[in-house]
């Protein structure tokens, strides 16, 4: 269990989500699930597992990954798209990965899955928009939406909703266009977490349910497993349990914010970043688990040795909940030093241990000349 304690220790848990980064669905085995984050200069950097299988990670600008690794064509296109992203987030990376998969670069199965996921996300966003608007109309004492005239499969459905937004102009002091933009923007953030009245299961709710199932499945698997692997399975369970607790609390907090559309939009207009932060927390927390869930499901019918291999891989990939998530729950925590503070940033031709320039080699040559 010492490795389990070590992996789950405060020291190795990232301080913030920004430091943990976002796992990217690369198909090249050496960078599979490598994490992306912004460096001090705001450039995207990649944190890839040590390809030798030992501890540590390779950290480099994402652009340099194409030089160091022999990436699949899917990953080369994905890297291109990711480099052009204005912000790194689970949803932005998911969208780019879906777009690349839709082209067929990850094979026919991924293409079909991407097509279904994109259609589902669009439908969820539209339904969310309709529900937010419906509730807002009720809050403002306006007549409700005539659902008979609404077909969610109709491309012009948003146009048909304009009159409803216009009715809200007097009470909000905003133009119909601005109202549409605000609700559209919110619905794309709310749809992935869903809310109580939604007639669909959101990405967050689905993932949370699957994570609970993974937790239970790994638990029963580990009950008949020997010490070392049971320890790794326990680590996965510990991380899953903490993620579930934090995600449930974050979903509850987001649900509180979503209780009234009017107040939500007020808050969004005054502090859009704070509102978006609360609404996207469940997604940040659950991010990375979908790959692990799929990995575990892929060996459900496999013999025990194959499942053992996957448990080891789960232990390596398991997303550690950043310490800041505990502050979100109102728990105090020991302030750890950010890993950024612990790292040395090394420039080209600079010795990583001493920070001295590569001229250190000349010093060593001089020493050798004196000692010979």
């Amino acid at each position: 269990l010492s490795s389990r304690r070590r992996l789950f220790s405060v020291k190795l848990r990232p301080a913030t989500f920004a430091e943990a980064g976002v796992a990217a669905p690369f198909t090249t085995p050496t960078v599979a699930q490598a994490r992306l984050r912004l460096d001090r200069r705001g450039r995207v950097e990649i944190v890839a597992r040590n390809p030798t299988g030992n501890g540590g990670a390779y950290i480099m600008p994402l652009k340099a990954a194409t030089e160091l690794f022999r990436l699949s064509i899917h990953d080369r296109v994905l890297v291109d798209r990711l480099l052009a992203l204005p912000a790194i987030s689970p949803l932005s990376i998911r969208a780019q990965a879906q777009a690349v998969a839709l082209e067929g670069l990850a094979g026919p199965d991924a293409k079909d899955a991407a097509s279904r996921a994109i259609a589902e996300a669009e439908e969820h966003a539209l339904l969310t928009l309709l529900l937010l608007l419906e509730r807002w109309l009720a809050e403002a004492g306006q007549p409700r939406i005539d659902w008979r005239a609404i077909d969610t499969g109709d491309r012009a459905v948003r146009e048909r909703l304009k009159p409803y937004f216009v009715r809200l102009e007097p009470s909000t002091g905003m133009t119909g266009r601005a109202l549409v933009d605000a609700v559209e923007s919110l619905s794309s953030v709310v749809a992935p977490i869903g809310f109580a009245q939604a007639p669909f299961e959101s990405l967050a709710v689905t993932t949370l349910a699957e994570l609970r199932a993974l937790d239970a499945s790994i638990g029963s698997w580990a009950a008949t497993e020997h010490h070392e692997l049971a320890g790794i399975a326990g680590l996965v369970q510990d991380c899953a349990a903490l993620t579930i607790t934090c995600a449930e609390a974050s979903l509850a907090k987001a649900a509180g914010l979503l209780q009234t559309t009017g107040r939500l939009l007020d808050a969004h207009s005054t502090a859009p970043e704070a509102v978006a932060a609360v609404l996207t927390r469940p997604i940040w927390l659950l991010h990375g688990w979908r790959h692990l869930i799929a990995l575990w499901q892929s060996v459900a019918d496999q013999p025990r040795p194959a499942q053992r291999d996957v448990v080891v891989e789960l232990g390596e990939l398991v997303p550690l909940v950043p310490l800041e998530a505990e502050e979100w729950q109102g728990r105090s925590r020991q302030k750890p030093r950010s890993q950024y503070e612990l790292h040395r940033h090394v420039r080209l031709n600079e010795d990583w241990r001493t920070g001295l320039a590569i001229e250190r080699q000349a010093v060593l040559e001089r020493l050798q000349a004196a000692a010979l």
Binding site: R70, G107, E225, Q302
Partner: protein, 430 residues
């Protein structure tokens, strides 16, 4: 003809056609029902697939009693039964070992085997240590009238394996799969196994060596290592045994080559068979080729490579047939099948390269890529894209991502990663 043996429409034909997941489930059901021994001869045709699928098997008495000599089993058609147990005799030895078993002991063994515990191997050892000595005694003490001398030897061989089960199986478990280059711990285990083999009846050395060689992907390499590790007093006897076993292995490989040349097996199974051949006929990198005694299998490499090349070229031709038109419902399924076949071909190509590094696989792949590119250019007149994404994925699987990217790059837009834009085009192409 039974329902399982026969022509189209029988269970065996159906099993041959179903996907891996369904086949695994059916076999697991057969195992759970205890009918596997009865159906074993008919299921033999599926053995190559089952070897990679590894369906879960309940720990039955039959399985338990077979475990100590499972590695000694050979097909009835095998030209050599030296230090082996013929698969066709299996039901006879299983019955001879289990029929006289005390019912109370049988119940205890069943309970031990069914106890949910750490892992199956531990359960097998716990139950086997009760069962195997009794089974060994049953086989040793029986004396069937008119038993042929060959059968008697085999019976005693099985009995000795059962007697050794409790000590030999944990060592084998520690060793398997036998690594190409054993480390210090593996060498210690091999020495411990040789020490066990050196004691007891004279046949024991041969049966233990035979089991080790059958479990090894590189029997020639392992034989040389065993000779290195054996104590001086054992060297002479071990060398004689190994030379005889390696002759049998070479003959088996020749039979395997003949079967593969005639067989119309799916390309994935064919690739697996050639991979095994290549592993058996080549040494790990960094080790010298040292044929043991008079038997040198390396002349088999050329004909094996030539045969596999012919199949590779034919399969490649099939792979390059055009897909159904865009938008056709069958297109995705066709691409899925094409990619699976290309992956099998990629494995086959790697195996051929090991058998004959200058065998011409690269030239075949280059030609295939050129044909894909030319066909793409002919289909998309006026289009700036040398290949579509589907063909690019085939090129990626067969020739690697760098070459695929070279032809696909226009898809990625002008802002492709700078490093790749600076790379020269693949050699030998426009």
């Amino acid at each position: 003809m039974s329902a399982i043996h026969g022509a189209d429409g029988t269970l065996l034909d159906l099993l041959d056609r179903v996907d891996d997941q369904k086949l695994r489930r059916v076999i697991e059901l057969i195992e759970a029902s205890g009918q596997r021994p009865v159906l074993e001869p008919a299921l033999a045709a599926l053995r190559p697939r089952l070897r990679s699928l590894r369906p879960r098997r309940p720990l039955t008495l039959i399985r338990l009693v077979t475990a100590p000599f499972a590695l000694a089993l050979v097909d009835d058609a095998s030209p050599h039964a030296f230090a082996a147990v013929r698969r066709g005799h299996l039901p006879r030895w299983q019955a001879a070992a289990l029929d006289p078993l005390d019912p109370a002991l049988a119940t205890m063994v069943r309970e031990l085997a069914a106890t949910p515990g750490d892992d199956e191997h531990q359960a097998m050892l716990a139950a086997g240590r009760r069962l195997w000595p009794a089974a060994a005694t049953a086989l040793t003490t029986m004396a069937p009238a008119g038993e042929p001398a060959e059968d008697r030897l085999e019976r005693l061989r099985v009995a000795d394996c059962l007697a050794l089960g409790g000590t030999l199986l944990p060592l084998l478990d520690r060793l398997l799969p036998i690594p190409a280059l054993p480390d210090a711990e593996d060498r210690e285990t091999l020495q411990a196994i040789l020490a066990i083999a050196a004691e007891g009846p004279p046949d024991r050395l041969a049966i233990v060596a035979a089991m080790l060689l059958r479990a090894a992907s590189r029997p020639w390499s392992l034989a040389a290592q065993l000779l290195e590790l054996a104590p001086g007093a054992l060297q002479g006897a071990l060398r004689r045994v190994l030379e005889r076993l390696l002759v049998a292995h070479r003959l088996d490989l020749e039979r395997c080559l003949e079967r593969q040349a005639e067989a119309d097996t799916p390309i994935a199974d064919y690739a697996t068979a050639i991979e095994r051949l290549a592993a058996a006929l080549t040494l790990p990198e960094g080790t010298a080729q040292r044929p043991l005694g008079r038997d040198d299998p390396s002349p088999l490499r050329r004909p094996a490579a030539a045969m596999a090349m012919t199949r590779f070229a034919a399969a490649l031709d099939g792979l390059l047939l055009p897909l159904p038109p865009p938008g056709a419902p069958a297109r995705a399924a066709a691409q899925r099948a094409r990619e699976a076949e290309a992956r099998a071909l990629s494995r086959l190509g790697r195996a051929v390269r090991r058998l004959a590094p200058d065998g011409g696989i690269e030239r075949l792949i280059e030609e295939a890529v050129e044909r894909l590119v030319d066909a793409g250019a002919a289909r998309g007149k006026g289009r700036q894209l040398p290949v579509g994404i589907e063909d690019a994925r085939l090129i990626e699987i067969l020739a690697g991502p760098d070459i695929a990217w070279h032809y696909l790059r226009p898809h990625a837009g002008p802002a492709g990663p700078g490093a790749l834009a600076r790379r020269p085009p693949p050699a030998g192409r426009r």
